[in-house]
C-alpha cells in the first residue's frame, strides 16, 4: 500500500515509534499482569453487573409491572435505552467502514476500540429488546422460523420485525469485521506468547495467520468488502429503528424526518462514547502516542457536525408541527417544550444542541478534560432525546382521558444500570485480553504519517527487543 499524506498534516503517531515500539506498546497490556486500575475498574463493573442481573432477573420473574410503565405509556426507559445503545454502536461502524472507504488514516488508532464498543453496545441494546417483552421466552417468535404452529408467520409490515433483521445483520457484520481486523494482531500475540496456554488460545483465534503477502492481500480485500457491506448498515440500522416511531400514528412519532435525524443522532452519541472510552484507554494504557490530540480533535469535529444536524432536525420538527396545521402534532410539540416533561426537553436541547457548539473553539476541541466532559453531556442529551420522543409523545396523545405520567421505578433504573455493568465488563475484558489498538494498521501508517526522529535515536534493529520502549520520549 502506498500512502500519500499531505505534509501539513500533523503526524498520526508521535514519539517516533518504530514498528517494534508499536508491537511492544500495545501488547504490553495483553501480556502483562492486570494493572491495579484495571482490577479496580473490573471489580466495579462486575459488581454492577451482578446487581443489575439480579434486578433484571426479578423483572423477568415478577413481570414488567415492576417498571413504571402504564396503559398510556407502554414504552419508556426500556426502548429509550435500546435506541440509545444502538445509537452508540454506530460510531464504531462508521469509523471502521466509512472512514476506511474514505481513507481516513486517523481511524487506525481508534477503530479497534470503537468496533468493540459497537458490538458490546448492540448486545446491550439487544438485552433491552428481550427485557421489554411481556413474554421474552417467546422472543424467537419474531423470527421467521418454520414452525409447527400452522401457518403462523411474522408480520413483515411491522417495524419491529424490520428491527430484528436490521439489528441481527448489523451485529453479525460488525462482529465479523472486528474479528477479521483482530486476526493479524492475534497472530502477533501468539508469536510473542511465552506460555503454552496463551499461545494455544491466541493461536486458535488467529486461525493460522502466517503474515504472507497473500494473506495480507486477502485481509485487505476482505476489509474492503466488509466495509462496503457495513456502510449501508450505518445508515439502515438507525433508519429502521427510527421507523419504529415514524410509521406509527402517534403525534410526535409520525414524522418523516426521523431516519436522517436518527442516523445523525446515532453517530453523534457514538462518537461521544468513543471519546469517553479512548480518553481513558490512552491514559491508562499509556497510548498517548497512538491516540493523539489530533484524533480527539477529528472526532470532536464529527460531533459538532452531527450535533448541528440533530439541532436542525429539532427545529424542523417544530416548524413542521406548526406548518402542518395538525392540531395533535402541534400540541405534541408544544407539550414537549412546555408540558410536564419540559425539563427533559430542555435537558435534551441544552446537551445536544448548545454544548457541542463549544467545540468551535480550538482550545476546547483540543482539551482532553473539555472533550471528556462534553462527551458525557452529549450522551446524557442523546438519552434524553429518546426519552423525550418516546415518553412525551405517548403520555399525551389523542384522547385526553388517557393522558398519564410516567415515573421510573427502582427497576427501571437498575435495569439500565445492568446494561452499564454488562457493557463495561465486556469492554474491560476486551481491553485486557485483546490489543485495544490495531497494531497492524497503525504500522501501516507509521511510515507515512508518524513523527520522525533522528535515525540514530530511533533506529532500533529489527526484531531486537527493547527493554524500555519509552526511552524515545527521553530523547524528545
Amino acid at each position: 500500500m502506498s500512502h500519500v499524506t499531505s505534509a501539513v498534516r500533523p503526524p498520526l503517531v508521535t514519539g517516533g515509534k518504530t514498528y517494534a515500539d508499536v508491537t511492544e506498546d500495545i501488547s504490553r497490556q495483553v501480556e502483562g499482569a492486570p494493572t491495579r486500575e484495571w482490577t479496580i475498574a473490573f471489580t466495579i463493573a462486575v459488581v454492577v453487573l451482578i446487581y443489575g442481573t439480579a434486578c433484571v432477573f426479578w423483572t423477568w420473574w415478577e413481570g414488567l409491572g415492576v417498571w413504571g410503565l402504564n396503559k398510556t405509556v407502554g414504552w419508556a426507559w426500556d426502548i429509550t435505552n435500546f435506541v440509545w445503545w444502538v445509537g452508540i454502536g454506530h460510531a464504531g461502524t462508521l469509523i471502521s467502514a466509512i472512514l476506511l472507504l474514505f481513507r481516513q488514516k486517523w481511524r487506525t488508532a481508534v477503530n479497534r476500540a470503537a468496533e468493540a464498543m459497537t458490538i458490546f453496545a448492540v448486545l446491550c441494546a439487544a438485552s433491552f429488546i428481550l427485557m421489554h417483552m411481556g413474554r421474552p421466552w417467546l422472543a424467537y417468535w419474531a423470527l421467521p422460523l418454520p414452525n409447527t404452529f400452522g401457518s403462523l408467520w411474522v408480520n413483515f409490515k411491522s417495524p419491529l420485525v424490520w428491527d430484528v433483521f436490521a439489528i441481527s445483520t448489523y451485529f453479525t457484520v460488525s462482529l465479523v469485521f472486528w474479528y477479521m481486523g483482530l486476526i493479524p494482531d492475534l497472530a502477533t500475540i501468539r508469536d510473542r506468547a511465552r506460555s503454552k496456554v496463551s499461545r494455544y488460545i491466541y493461536g486458535a483465534f488467529a486461525m493460522g495467520w502466517n503474515g504472507s503477502a497473500k494473506t495480507w492481500a486477502r485481509y485487505e480485500y476482505m476489509s474492503l468488502i466488509l466495509a462496503g457491506l457495513s456502510t449501508p448498515l450505518v445508515l439502515s440500522v438507525h433508519t429502521i429503528v427510527s421507523m419504529d416511531f415514524a410509521t406509527s400514528v402517534i403525534p410526535g412519532w409520525h414524522t418523516t424526518i426521523f431516519p436522517p435525524y436518527f442516523v445523525a443522532g446515532a453517530i453523534f452519541s457514538g462518537f461521544a462514547m468513543v471519546q469517553n472510552l479512548v480518553l481513558i484507554i490512552r491514559v491508562v494504557f499509556k497510548l498517548e502516542d497512538y491516540i493523539t490530540i489530533e484524533h480527539i480533535e477529528s472526532m470532536n469535529k464529527v460531533i459538532t457536525l452531527t450535533g448541528s444536524i440533530v439541532g436542525v432536525a429539532y427545529l424542523t420538527e417544530f416548524f413542521i408541527a406548526w406548518y402542518s396545521g395538525v392540531e395533535f402534532e402541534s400540541y405534541a410539540f408544544i407539550n414537549r417544550a412546555t408540558g410536564p416533561y419540559w425539563w427533559a426537553y430542555w435537558t435534551m436541547m441544552t446537551c445536544n444542541v448548545i454544548t457541542p457548539q463549544l467545540f468551535w473553539s480550538r482550545a476546547i476541541r483540543r482539551s482532553i478534560v473539555w472533550t471528556f466532559v462534553l462527551s458525557v453531556v452529549v450522551n446524557i442529551g442523546m438519552w434524553f432525546e429518546r426519552f423525550v420522543i418516546i415518553v412525551t409523545s405517548l403520555h399525551r396523545d389523542y384522547l385526553p382521558s388517557s393522558w398519564a405520567m410516567f415515573h421510573p421505578t427502582l427497576f427501571d433504573i437498575s435495569d439500565y444500570i445492568f446494561s452499564f455493568g454488562f457493557f463495561f465488563t465486556l469492554f474491560l475484558l476486551f481491553s485486557k485480553f485483546l490489543p485495544v489498538v490495531n497494531m497492524a494498521e497503525v504500522k501501516a501508517v507509521i511510515k507515512s504519517s508518524s513523527e520522525r526522529l533522528p535515525v540514530s535515536v530511533s533506529g532500533v534493529a529489527k526484531g531486537e527487543r527493547v527493554a524500555n520502549p519509552t526511552f524515545n520520549k527521553d530523547v524528545e
Binding site: 415478577e62 413481570g63 414488567l64 409491572g65 413504571g68 410503565l69 402504564n70 396503559k71 398510556t72 407502554g74 414504552w75 421489554h132 417483552m133 411481556g134 413474554r135 421474552p136 417467546l138 422472543a139 417468535w141 419474531a142 403462523l152 408467520w153 411474522v154 408480520n155 409490515k157 411491522s158 417495524p159 419491529l160 420485525v161 430484528v164 419504529d244 410509521t247 406509527s248 400514528v249 402517534i250 392540531e327 395533535f328 400540541y331 408544544i334 407539550n335 412546555t338 405517548l394 399525551r396 396523545d397 389523542y398 384522547l399 385526553p400 382521558s401 388517557s402 393522558w403 398519564a404
Partner: protein, 1035 residues
C-alpha cells in the same frame, strides 16, 4: 357397503313422524330449559298431557337436584360429568329468571349459569319495572356469591356451631325473652318481599312482643312523611321521567342513587333521545339540577347550579314562590335566595304544566312538602307522578329506628334480630348501638359475614346470597317478581325466612311457603291459567307477574298539606351561612356500602370524579385554593364533635365552601376488599326532628398532616378543545341542522377539497358476511358504569387494586371517559387543562373501536392481532409476546397489558386468588396470562355462540340477535350493537339516517375507520351566549 332398504326407527315418534318431531329432529338439545320454552314447561307440569319422557325429565331433575343439594363442600377439582344432570349441558348456558333485591334496590334479572355455576346477571326484559335494565351493583352481584369472606355456617360468638344447636339455643332464649314479656325487635333494611313480610308477621304472631323495624342506610323517610301529610298516604309515588318536559331536581341523584335509578334512568333517557335513536323526535326534556356536589345526575343536566346545603330549602321555596307567582298560588315566606337559573327553571316549569317534574333528595319532610305543593301546583300528579301506584323501594322509618336505639340503650330490648341490616356501620347512631348491644340478651344477625354488627351479636345465622334463595318481591304495588335459586347453597347457610319459620315453630321450607302464599294471594288475581301449577311455572319462568302493568292508573291527587307551615319550618332551618357545609351522598358504585366487598364495584370509578377504592372530601377549586389545599392533601372534616380524616379531591362543580363525602366506605369488617378502603362517613350524618339529615351546615374542615393519593382512572379533566374527539351542540342548532356540532375534517388535494377519509394507502378488508358495529348515543349515555361492570363480569377482567389504578394500569376494556368543559380560549393550552368552576360534563364510553385500518394490527411483529372478515379487530393472546407496540400505537388507548400474573397471586388477592372466586369465571373467555395484551373483543364469544345457534337451526342470524355484554346491560339503551351488513338491524337503520346527521367517528381524520359511531351530544340549552354573558350565568 351394500345399500339396504331396511330402516330402523329410533323411537315411536320417528315412526309416527308427526310435525313437532320433524321440527325438532335436528336440534341437538330437544328441550332447553330456557325462557323461550315456557309453553312446553306448562304442558310438562300441568299434568294433563305429561308424557313418559317428560316424567323421566322431571324425575331426573329431581334426582339431580337432590344429589346436588347433598353436596356439602365446594368442589375443588374439575370433575367430568360421568352422570350428567339431564338439563345441564357442558358449554351451554342456562338462563334462570330471578330477582335482585338488596336493601330495597330492585332488578328483575336473568341468571346465566354454566355447568351449574351462575356466571353473569342480565336484565329481564319482561319486567315493566326494570325493563331489562341493570345497574353496576346488579351486574357485580354475581361476584358476591363467590365471596371467600363469607361465613361457612352459623356461629355463636367466634365458635362454629351447627344449625340444630343454633336453633335450639335461639328458640330457648326467644322463649325466655318472650316469657318475660321482653321486647323482641327484628331490624331490617327495606324488604321488598311480601312473602317475607308474611313470614315476619307469622314470627310476630308466635312472639307477640316482637316488632319489625325497617330503616334504610340512606333514608328517604322524610319524603314518605311528607306524602303522609300532603296526601294521607305514607308512600313513595311512582315517578315517570319520560313524560316530563321539564325536570327540576334539587339534590336528588335520581340517575345514580335516589330511590330507584334503574327505573328512572330508562325513563329519563327516553326523554333525552333525539333523532333516529329516539324514534325521529326532535325535542328532548330539559333538566335543571340544583345540587351541592357534582353528581352523575347533575352531570347530565342541561342547566346545573351549585348550591350550598343550607340553600336547599330556600331554593325549593323560591322555586315554589316563583311558580306560584306565575300560576297563581299562595307564596310562602322564606328568605330569598340568589342562585343562577332559578327564574329560568320556574319559567320552564310554568310553561310545561302537567309535563313537569320536581324532585328533591332531601330527607327533610318540610322541603318535601313544598316540593309536593309545587308538583301539585303544576298538575304533575296523575301525569308524571303516580301516587296511586306507590313503590316499595324505601320503607325505612327513621323514628322507629331511633326509638329502637333508645330502647336498646335503656336496656329494654330482650332480643334483636338483624337481617340485611348493619346499623352499627351504616346508621349515624351506630356507635351508640354498638355500646348498647351487650345489654340485649339475645342478638342474632343473618349477615353472610361477621360484619360490624354481626361480629358483636351473640349469634350469626348466615343467610345465603340471593342467587341461592327462593323469594319474591313487590317493587311497585301490583308488580311482583320471583327469585329462584340458580345454585344450591354453597355454604351451610339458611334463608332468613326459613330461620324465622323454624323459630316460630312452623314448617321451615320457604319454597313451599312462598308457593302457598302466591297461590292464596296472587293466583286469584289472574284468570289466564287453569291451574296454580301452570301459573307458578309461568311466573317462575318469566320471573315476573304484573297484574297491574296493563292498567292505566291516574294517580292524581290533590295536595292537602300545609305548605305555609312547611315554609315556616324551612325559613327556620335554612339560613345563609358563611362557614363550610357538608353534604353526604351515596356513590353510584358502592352505594350504601352493603356490597363494599365486591372488587368489581371497588374498582368501578365514580362516574364523575373517576376515583375508585376510596372516598374523599370533594372541595371546589376555589375553596381548596382559599384553604391552601391541593389534591390528595389530608383534611379533617368535623361535625358536632365527630371527625374523619380524608384526602382532598378537587371537584369542579362543587359548591364553594362545601365538602361532599360519600357514604358506604370505611368498612372495618366487610371483607378483604372492603376493609380499610376510605372512611366511614355515616357518623357525620345527624338526626334532626327524628329524620336522618345527610347535610350539615356547620362543619369544620382543617388541613391535616400527610397526604393520601386518590386512585383515579382519569386524571386529565378536559378535552382540550379537541372536536375530533367530542362533538356536541345545542338543541336549537340541532333542530336547524342535524349535523350541528359535527367536526368534518377535509383535506386539500389536486382535485379540490375532499373528506380526510377519502384518501388512503390501505386496501381495506372485505366484510362479506357480517360487519359488527356499534352506535353509542352520547345523549342518552348517563355515565353510570353498568356497562363497565357487565364487561368485567362477561370477560373475566382482572381487578388490580388501588395501587395499580394509581399506577394507571386498570384492566377495564370498557371505560367511560368523562370530560369537563373549560372556559379557556381554544389556543390557550395550559388554561384549557383547567375545568370550569361549574362545568358542562360529557360522558364518552370508550372501548376498542375495531378500526378497519387498525394501527395496532400493522405493528404487531408476530401477527397476534389481526382483522376478521366480520370487521373485528382480533386479539390472539396465545400468540402475543408482549411488545406493547400495539397499545402505544392505539389512538384510543384501549389496549391493556398484563403487567403481572393477576391470578393466584397474593399481591392481587381478589376473586381470582381463590377457588371459590374462580367459579365466577366465564368459561367462554380465556383468562389472560402475564405479559400479553388484551382488549375489547366485541364479545366475540357471544357472536360465535349466536352464529352457531343460527347455523344449527339452519337460518341467518336475526337482526340484533347477538348483543355484547355492554349493549345488553346498558339501562338507557345508549349502546346499540349489531350487524351493519344487515339492512334491517337497528344499527343499520339508525346509521342510515344519522350518517348525515349526528353520527361521527372519534378521530375521523386519522382514517382508521372505526366500526363504532358516536351520536353527538345535544344539550337542551339556549343558544350560546357571548363569552361574557356566559360567564355571568356561571358566576
Amino acid at each position: 357397503m351394500e345399500n339396504t332398504s331396511k330402516r330402523y326407527w329410533k323411537g315411536v315418534e320417528e315412526l309416527r313422524n308427526d310435525a313437532t318431531f320433524v321440527k325438532n329432529a335436528n336440534s341437538e338439545f330437544a328441550n332447553p330449559d330456557s325462557i323461550e320454552s315456557s309453553k312446553d314447561l306448562n304442558g310438562l307440569l300441568g299434568g294433563s298431557d305429561t308424557q313418559r319422557r317428560d316424567f323421566l325429565k322431571v324425575m331426573g331433575f329431581g334426582m339431580a337436584a337432590v344429589t346436588l343439594a347433598a353436596c356439602e363442600a365446594p368442589v375443588h377439582k374439575a370433575i367430568p360429568y360421568i352422570n350428567k344432570p339431564e338439563f345441564t349441558f357442558p358449554t351451554i348456558s342456562d338462563y334462570y329468571a330471578s330477582t335482585f333485591s338488596e336493601g330495597g334496590d330492585y332488578a328483575a334479572v336473568l341468571v346465566e349459569t354454566r355447568e351449574g355455576r351462575p356466571i353473569k346477571i342480565e336484565g329481564n326484559q319482561q319486567s315493566s319495572v326494570s325493563k331489562g335494565g341493570t345497574t353496576a351493583r346488579v351486574q357485580a352481584s354475581v361476584l358476591s356469591l363467590y365471596d371467600i369472606d363469607k361465613l361457612k355456617g352459623p356461629k355463636r360468638g367466634d365458635a362454629d356451631i351447627d344449625w340444630a344447636t343454633a336453633d335450639r339455643e335461639i328458640v330457648n332464649q326467644l322463649n325466655s325473652v318472650a316469657g318475660k314479656n321482653g321486647a323482641i325487635r327484628i331490624i331490617t333494611s327495606t324488604i321488598l318481599s311480601p312473602t317475607t313480610k308474611a313470614v315476619v308477621a307469622d314470627f310476630i304472631t308466635k312472639y307477640p312482643t316482637a316488632r319489625h323495624i325497617t330503616y334504610d342506610a340512606y333514608s328517604v323517610a322524610g319524603l314518605i312523611q311528607a306524602n303522609q301529610s300532603s296526601f294521607g298516604k305514607a308512600v313513595i309515588p311512582s315517578y315517570d321521567f319520560s313524560k316530563a318536559d321539564t325536570i327540576v331536581s334539587i339534590n336528588a341523584d335520581f340517575l345514580g342513587s335516589w330511590i330507584a335509578p334503574i327505573e328512572f334512568m330508562n325513563a329519563y333517557a327516553k326523554g333525552r333521545k333525539i333523532g333516529a335513536i329516539g324514534g325521529g323526535k326532535k325535542t328532548m326534556s330539559r333538566h335543571y339540577q340544583f345540587e351541592t356536589g357534582l353528581s352523575m345526575t347533575g352531570s347530565n343536566a342541561d342547566y346545573r347550579t351549585a348550591i350550598k346545603p343550607s340553600q336547599e330549602g330556600l331554593v325549593v321555596a323560591a322555586l315554589y314562590n316563583k311558580v306560584a307567582a306565575k300560576l297563581g298560588g299562595t307564596s310562602i315566606g322564606t328568605a330569598s335566595v340568589e342562585v343562577a337559573n332559578l327564574d329560568k327553571a320556574a319559567a320552564d316549569l310554568a310553561n310545561s304544566r302537567g309535563k313537569a317534574l320536581v324532585i328533591s333528595g332531601s330527607n327533610d319532610p318540610n322541603v318535601q312538602t313544598v316540593v309536593n305543593a309545587l308538583n301539585g301546583l303544576l298538575g304533575n300528579y296523575g301525569t308524571t307522578i303516580d301516587i296511586d301506584t306507590p313503590v316499595n323501594y324505601r320503607q325505612g322509618n327513621d323514628q322507629q329506628m331511633n326509638a329502637f336505639i333508645n330502647e336498646a340503650k335503656a336496656g329494654r330490648v330482650g332480643a334483636a334480630l338483624f337481617f340485611g341490616a348493619n346499623p352499627i356501620y351504616d346508621h349515624p347512631r351506630g356507635a351508640e348501638l354498638a355500646e348498647a348491644l351487650p345489654k340485649i340478651a339475645l342478638s342474632v344477625s343473618f349477615a353472610d359475614r361477621a360484619d360490624e354488627t354481626a361480629s358483636l351479636t351473640k349469634y350469626i345465622t348466615p343467610a345465603p346470597h340471593y342467587l341461592e334463595c327462593w323469594n319474591d318481591a313487590e317493587p311497585k304495588q301490583g308488580y311482583y317478581s320471583l327469585t329462584q335459586p340458580a345454585i344450591t347453597n354453597i355454604y351451610k347457610t339458611r334463608q332468613f325466612q326459613s330461620s324465622l319459620l323454624t323459630w316460630a315453630g312452623k314448617p321451615n321450607d320457604y319454597q313451599v311457603y312462598l308457593k302457598n302464599y302466591w297461590e292464596t294471594n296472587y293466583f286469584p288475581e289472574t284468570e289466564e291459567f287453569s291451574s296454580f301449577e301452570k301459573f307458578w311455572v309461568q311466573s317462575l319462568n318469566a320471573g315476573v307477574f304484573e297484574p297491574n302493568s296493563g292498567q292505566v292508573s291516574g294517580g292524581g291527587a290533590a295536595f292537602a298539606g300545609n305548605v305555609a307551615a312547611a315554609g315556616a319550618a324551612i325559613a327556620q332551618r335554612y339560613k345563609p351561612t358563611t362557614g363550610m357545609e357538608l353534604a353526604l351522598y351515596e356513590s353510584v358504585g358502592i352505594g350504601t356500602g352493603a356490597m363494599a366487598n365486591n372488587p368489581f364495584l371497588q374498582e368501578l370509578p365514580d362516574p364523575v370524579s373517576k376515583a375508585c377504592w376510596d372516598n374523599y372530601a370533594a372541595l371546589s377549586q376555589k375553596t381548596a385554593h382559599d384553604m391552601g389545599l391541593a389534591q390528595n392533601d389530608m383534611v379533617t372534616v368535623s361535625v358536632n364533635g365527630k371527625s374523619i380524616d380524608l384526602p382532598v379531591l378537587i371537584q369542579p362543580g362543587q359548591a364553594d365552601n362545601t365538602v361532599s363525602v360519600a357514604i358506604g366506605y370505611g368498612r372495618e369488617k366487610g371483607g378483604k376488599s372492603a376493609n380499610g378502603v376510605g372512611k366511614n362517613a355515616y357518623p357525620l350524618a345527624m338526626i334532626a326532628n327524628g329524620f336522618v339529615m345527610y347535610t350539615a351546615f356547620n362543619v369544620k374542615v382543617e388541613k391535616a398532616s400527610g397526604s393520601h393519593v386518590i386512585a383515579q382512572t382519569q386524571t386529565h379533566d378536559t378535552v382540550m378543545g379537541r372536536t375530533a374527539v367530542l362533538q356536541e351542540s345545542r338543541l336549537a342548532s340541532y333542530q336547524k341542522n342535524p349535523k350541528a356540532g359535527r367536526h368534518e375534517p377535509k383535506v386539500q388535494t389536486s382535485k379540490g377539497e375532499t373528506d380526510a377519509t377519502d384518501i388512503t394507502l390501505w386496501d381495506g378488508y372485505g366484510k362479506p358476511n357480517h360487519s359488527w358495529g356499534m352506535i353509542i348515543d352520547l345523549n342518552s349515555c348517563i355515565g353510570c358504569g353498568t356497562c363497565v361492570v357487565a364487561c368485567n363480569a362477561e370477560n373475566n377482567i382482572q381487578v388490580v387494586g388501588r395501587q395499580e389504578v394509581i399506577n394507571r394500569r386498570e384492566m377495564h376494556w370498557m371505560r367511560i371517559d368523562r370530560y369537563y368543559s373549560s372556559d379557556a380560549e381554544a389556543e390557550d393550552f395550559s388554561a384549557l387543562e383547567v375545568a370550569s368552576a361549574n362545568p358542562e360534563v360529557t360522558f364518552q364510553p370508550m372501548l376498542c373501536q375495531h378500526c378497519s385500518n387498525a394501527p395496532c394490527e400493522t405493528v404487531c411483529p408476530v401477527l397476534a392481532t389481526t382483522h376478521s372478515t366480520e370487521g373485528l379487530n382480533q386479539m390472539t393472546y396465545n400468540r402475543c409476546v408482549g411488545t406493547r407496540y400495539c397499545a402505544n400505537n392505539c389512538p384510543y388507548k384501549v389496549r391493556r397489558f398484563n403487567w403481572f400474573k393477576y391470578t393466584d397471586n397474593d399481591n392481587f388477592d381478589y376473586q381470582y386468588n381463590n377457588d371459590l372466586g374462580k367459579m365466577s369465571i366465564n368459561p367462554d373467555v380465556t383468562v389472560r396470562s402475564r405479559g400479553v395484551i388484551e382488549k375489547c373483543s366485541f364479545c366475540v364469544q357471544r357472536i360465535q355462540e349466536g352464529k352457531l345457534t343460527a347455523k344449527k337451526e339452519r337460518r341467518r342470524l336475526e337482526p340484533d340477535e347477538v348483543q355484547t355484554a355492554c349493549s345488553q346491560a346498558c339501562p338507557t339503551n345508549a349502546i346499540i350493537f349489531g350487524d351493519m351488513n344487515n339492512p334491517i338491524s337497528t344499527i343499520s337503520k339508525i346509521l342510515m339516517e344519522e350518517r348525515e346527521g349526528r353520527a361521527f367517528h372519534v378521530l375521523e381524520e386519522i382514517n382508521v375507520r372505526p366500526q363504532i359511531s358516536y351520536l353527538t351530544k345535544i344539550r337542551n340549552k339556549d343558544e350560546e351566549l357571548s363569552k361574557e354573558a356566559n360567564k355571568e350565568v356561571h358566576a
